[in-house]
């Protein structure tokens, strides 16, 4: 093999390696894909084809994996979002629960969860309750943030503060574990 041919082969191999590196997934894409299908449907398992978005989808999953300023295939960008369940083990959240937040700057905002228990805060020019768990707020949250959830006379205050994580489900995955406090629930532990 001549030196020229060898150089061409080496260049092609290098180009192929670089292309392979660029064609891979980003960490954000990997995290979003790892969420799996949307199982939020009152026991009705939705396929990924049915995952068209909308404020009621993917309850209990970390919303900002797809709705953050840095990665937003879901298009809408949230500054905080999550799901409230009635009790541990529920697969669908509870509608009509009030989520009241107060940040370190004294900003207070309250939002009612939608039919699958989801709520989501976005930035806007003024305070706007937009229905289906959505609210726009005219400020950036200043951490730490304290949270209370209420429904039908039941009130639970989050024992610790939120220090920086805007997706409730990152610390509140379904299963209790060393790294998860379990879903946000109105009843139970």
């Amino acid at each position: 093999m001549s030196r020229r041919t060898l150089a061409q082969v080496a260049t092609l191999a290098l180009a192929a390696l670089l292309a392979a590196g660029c064609l891979g997934e980003t960490p954000e894409e990997q995290a979003a894909r790892a969420l799996g299908p949307d199982t939020c449907g009152g026991g009705r398992r939705r396929g990924e084809d049915d995952d068209e978005g909308g404020p009621e989808h993917r309850c209990g999953q970390p919303c900002l994996f797809c709705h953050s300023a840095s990665y937003n295939p879901g298009e809408k960008i949230f500054i905080m979002a999550g799901t409230v369940f009635t009790r541990p083990g529920d697969t669908v959240g509870v509608g009509g629960a009030e989520v009241a937040l107060e940040d370190a700057a004294g900003h207070q905002v309250s939002v009612l969860t939608n039919s699958t228990g989801n709520f989501m805060l976005s930035r806007g020019s003024s305070l706007q309750q937009r229905g289906k768990g959505q609210v726009r707020v005219p400020f950036d949250l200043v951490y730490p943030v304290s949270v209370v959830v209420r429904k039908d006379g039941v009130e639970r205050k989050m024992r610790s503060h939120i220090q920086r994580e805007a997706s409730c489900a990152v610390c509140h995955a379904a299963a209790l574990s060393a790294t998860s406090a379990g879903h946000v629930v109105l009843e139970g532990p």
Partner: protein, 168 residues
């Protein structure tokens, strides 16, 4: 010199260099000098509330990993249980290890949460205390200095009152 002797010589030099790299070069590491009971009684509640949430130092991937009843647990089955002596001891060792040998006033545990304007150091988790004379840094400096006196107890009690968590 034969090739064999040259090879042996190089091997010896390499071994000596590696051994030198592993030698104690005279530094000291102050581990385990603070009291676990004092930490548990006076300090832990402050760190649990201000530092040890799951989204901050209640994450084993971060420096200064802190176990807490409301945060990271050592094992899955401990969720919902009171903090164990093992977890409290591990927290103390994490504190000792993050800035070994530092003077109490300059310890990273004090400097990181302190406002930069007050002599603190940039902290991804923000500026938690505006001045060194606030209750929490006063409590921490006393604890890191090995004290266990009434002034420290007063500062720590004030710091805990600022961050008291609601009951389960």
């Amino acid at each position: 010199m034969t090739r064999a002797r040259l090879g042996l010589g190089l091997l010896g030099l390499t071994a000596a260099a590696l051994a030198a790299g592993c030698q104690d070069v005279g530094g000291t590491v102050a581990l385990g000098v603070r009291d676990e009971a004092v930490y548990a009684r006076e300090v832990h509640a402050v760190l649990e509330a201000r530092c040890g949430t799951l989204d901050c130092h209640g994450d084993a991937r971060r420096p200064l990993r802190i176990y807490a009843e409301t945060g990271l647990r050592l094992r899955d089955e401990l969720r919902g249980q009171p903090l164990t002596a093992e977890e409290l001891g591990d927290n103390l060792r994490a504190i000792e290890a993050i800035d070994p040998g530092a003077a109490a006033e300059d310890h990273l545990l004090v400097r990181k949460p302190l406002a930069v304007a007050a002599g603190g150091q940039r902290h991804l988790g923000g500026e938690l205390w505006a001045t060194r004379t606030a209750a929490a840094p006063t409590c921490l400096v006393a604890f890191l200095g090995g004290r266990d006196d009434a002034a420290m107890a007063d500062a720590c009690a004030a710091a805990r009152a600022e961050v008291s968590l609601p009951p389960p």
